[in-house]
């Protein structure tokens, strides 16, 4: 940008003009960029689409023998998926087990390690994640010191209302030692 590239007699560069061109052009360009960023980052500001997790009816006690063996159940709830609202659709799955004393425990079926769907292998009476081989006892605790999972399986709040099992269905962030709700 020195004079050697401009053989013609041309006016000298003017800092004020250059600064003004950059400032005005930049200001104009910022309008669409900032508006775009505001909308793009909307998911950071809006909370969980489904709001605070609420209790859902899962099953009747009669379908849950008091043998301590976990069984898989589908969670049916109202789902708000961005613009569509659908009542009573499957929103996930949980494992329920009832001890001989009658206490009902609920486990989230998502692996706390990286979020795969954990299987229950009845032959070995253990939970096993097919992705990275995390395994858990049937009470949800880690059964292998080298398990990739940083924490036991996530339990969910259970209420037995009369003859019905109700569970507060929520999801937790994978990969942490603590149980942090995703909502």
């Amino acid at each position: 940008m020195s004079s050697d590239t401009s053989p013609d007699a041309l006016p000298r560069r003017c800092f004020v003009k250059e600064a003004a061109a950059v400032a005005l052009g930049g200001a104009a360009t910022l309008v669409p960029i900032v508006s775009g960023l505001v909308v793009w980052t909307d998911p950071l500001r809006s909370g969980s689409a489904n709001g605070k997790a609420s209790f859902s009816r899962i099953t009747g006690l009669e379908s849950l023998p008091a043998d301590g063996v976990p069984r898989k159940f589908t969670v049916i709830a109202d789902k708000q998926d961005a613009w569509t609202k659908t009542p009573n659709v499957p929103v996930g799955a949980i494992y329920l087990s009832r001890s001989a004393k009658g206490d009902v425990t609920a486990f989230q079926s998502i692996c706390p390690h990286a979020g795969c769907f954990v299987e229950f292998r009845s032959a070995k009476n253990e939970f096993f994640c097919p992705c990275h081989n995390s395994s858990f006892f049937s009470d949800g605790s880690i059964n292998d010191p080298r398990s990739p999972s940083p924490r036991p399986m996530d339990t969910l709040a259970v209420e037995v209302r009369g003859n019905e099992v109700w569970v507060r269905f929520e999801t937790f962030q994978a990969g942490h030692r603590e149980k942090i709700p995703t909502a």
Partner: protein, 593 residues
């Protein structure tokens, strides 16, 4: 820092590139008349930025397009503003295109050696209009749906391959999911790709030949940077200012009701920059539209493409100026004419008003706690008593009944009513009216019916007319009691407040006013000869009487004109329910915020 710059330059040649891009010589110095091309490029940048973000939230599907645009517009923070920027920048681009074209022709910038670049410019004009056309349909609202139908139907009259062209554009024989996916692919993929290629070519050729400097030069020569860039930046700022002002003034782009092929939309008009074509088409009688829609516009474009050749002749440049002037003037006149015709057409304004009402209602329902159902937002209005009730009433009931003296939609009806006015049916006021000796035989109640000399009218005119004050007080309670049967939402508080009087009224209906001499009321009565007052005006009662008024519970054999809407199949259960809900004023109301 300097070392880094040197390294980068040695690896990329960025200094030479910047020099090349910014240090172009402008004979006669920077001028405002050169800003149009840059302003258009800037618009294109806005469209790319806003478009990509809109894309991130848009879902092209017949049951998700309107819904996702609603979500952008009403649920995402700043979404309405972003969509407004995209919408109004598109409009500004059309204006800038016209100005740029005029400047090029007036300054003779299309002449040799710049012919090819002029053609690039014309291609850019066509592609930009294509983007405008395809973008109009994407929200899948009534306005875009019906306006775009006209465009694709016009494509179908293209000679020889018309129907194939239409099928390719629409993605089949009718509008649906594939129409949206294909329009979206055009709007966000193919046409923007094409525009990038064309713009690169346009600018490269422009640089090759240099600017067409307007003489006489009033200033010494200058470089593009910073003099012209500063002017271009001011122009860009003016563009942004205008677009933001339009967005704020109109509160973003319009989103009309969800597209519904079963709902007419007489307010459908193309965007203002296509209005001249819309108006032009009105002058071609049936069978000759192909001239107005395709042949003549193609010829005009053809003549424009030949402008560089014509410009070689002595009078060619003048002809070009005259031709472009005539086309632009013609477009302005036709646009003005289209606007004027609409302005003078009260039916059009009615349609606009209805469209506006439907749009607002659709948004209100989409925001309601029940939200948008899985079946799509079109169901919101289809199932809404407030929207459909008046339409159904006007079509099926207003031949005999009136609603507040009109057909339910607010239109006067020529013939005299031959059945009661149903505004407020079930309410205390309506009942008080039919039990008023002066009103019972008017057209509002039984005046137009065969019951105008019947038992009820005689009872009211002869007995009720002579009631003592005590008896009148009894009647007032009976009115409360019978009206409470309807359980109207609007009367819920009053019914709760007057619970005790309603209880009394139920007894008095039997013991004092003798309603039960003819009517059945809260106790089975096989001898009843008049319509059942149990649940009178309730949803169930209304659904039943609309389904079959000749049932013994209602008018039996004395029903002489009202069709059994359910049994004759004239209305299905959903529509009858909608009518009943509407008559009862039972529909979703947004709580005032």
């Amino acid at each position: 820092m300097k070392a880094l710059w040197e390294w980068l330059d040695s690896r990329t040649g960025i200094r030479h590139l910047a020099q090349e891009a910014l240090m172009e010589k402008i004979p006669g110095g920077a001028r405002w008349r050169y800003v149009w091309g840059s302003a258009l490029t800037f618009c294109l940048a806005i469209q790319f930025i806003t478009g990509v973000v809109l894309w991130a939230a848009y879902s092209p599907g017949a049951k998700s397009a309107w819904e996702s645009v609603f979500y952008i517009q009403h649920e995402m923070a700043g979404g309405w503003f972003l969509r407004g920027l995209h919408h109004y920048t598109a409009q500004i681009m059309v204006v800038l295109l016209a100005l740029h074209l005029m400047q090029v022709v007036i300054d003779g910038a299309y002449k040799a050696p710049r012919e090819v670049n002029f053609w690039f410019g014309l291609a850019l004009l066509v592609v930009t209009l294509g983007l405008a056309l395809t973008g109009y349909l994407l929200p899948w609202d009534q306005k875009g749906y019906w306006a775009t139908k006209v465009a694709t139907n016009i494509a179908a009259i293209t000679p020889v391959f018309g129907s194939q062209i239409e099928r390719l554009i629409v993605g089949g024989s009718d509008y649906g999911n594939l129409t949206l996916t294909r329009f979206f692919a055009l709007h966000a993929g193919i046409l923007p790709g094409l525009i990038v290629v064309l713009v690169v070519g346009h600018i490269a050729l422009f640089r090759r030949h240099g600017i067409t400097a307007k003489k006489p030069f009033r200033k010494p020569d200058a470089r593009f940077w910073p003099d012209q860039v500063l002017m271009d930046a001011v122009a860009a700022l003016a563009v942004v200012f205008t677009v933001v002002a339009l967005t704020l003034y109109f509160r973003g782009a319009e989103l009309t009701a969800p597209a519904d092929p079963s709902e007419p939309y007489s307010a459908a008009r193309p965007e203002w920059y296509f209005l001249f074509l819309f108006q032009f088409l009105k002058y071609f009688p049936g069978g000759t539209e192909v001239w107005g829609a395709i042949i003549i516009p193609s010829l005009v474009l053809g003549v424009m493409a030949l402008m560089p050749m014509l410009g070689q002749w002595k009078l060619g440049h003048r002809f070009n100026l005259l031709f472009l002037g005539a086309i632009l003037l013609g477009a302005v006149v036709l646009t003005f004419e289209a606007k004027l015709q609409d302005a003078r057409d009260p039916e059009y304004w009615k349609a606009v008003e209805r469209a506006h009402r439907d749009s607002q209602r659709a948004v209100e329902l989409a925001k309601s706690p029940t939200g948008i159902p899985e079946g799509g937002a079109a169901l919101l209005l289809r199932r809404d008593p407030l929207t459909q009730g008046p339409r159904l009433f006007s079509q099926h009931c207003a031949g005999c009944h009136r609603f507040d003296g009109n057909d339910g939609l607010g239109n006067a009806v020529q013939e005299a009513a031959s059945a009661p006015d149903l505004k407020g049916f079930g309410s205390r006021e309506w009942l008080a009216g039919i039990l008023n000796p002066e009103k019972v035989a008017t057209a509002h109640y039984f005046g137009g019916t065969k019951f105008k000399d019947g038992k009820m009218v005689r009872f009211v005119q002869q007995k009720v007319a002579k009631y003592s004050d005590a008896k009148r007080a009894d009647l007032a309670k009976v009115i409360l009691a019978v009206s409470a049967e309807a359980a109207l939402p609007a009367q819920a508080e009053l019914d709760e407040r007057d619970k005790l009087q309603i209880e009394e009224g139920r007894v008095l209906a039997r013991d004092s006013v003798n309603c039960t001499d003819c009517h059945q009321f809260r106790k089975p009565d096989e001898d009843a000869t008049a319509p059942d007052l149990t649940g009178w005006g309730s949803r169930e009662w209304l659904v039943s009487i609309i389904s079959n008024p000749a049932h013994t519970r209602f008018y039996g054999k004395r029903n002489d004109r009202m069709p059994a809407f359910a049994e004759t199949g004239q209305l299905d259960a959903e529509k009858i329910g909608i009518l009943a809900d509407w008559l009862r004023g039972d529909w979703y109301r947004a709580r005032a915020r």
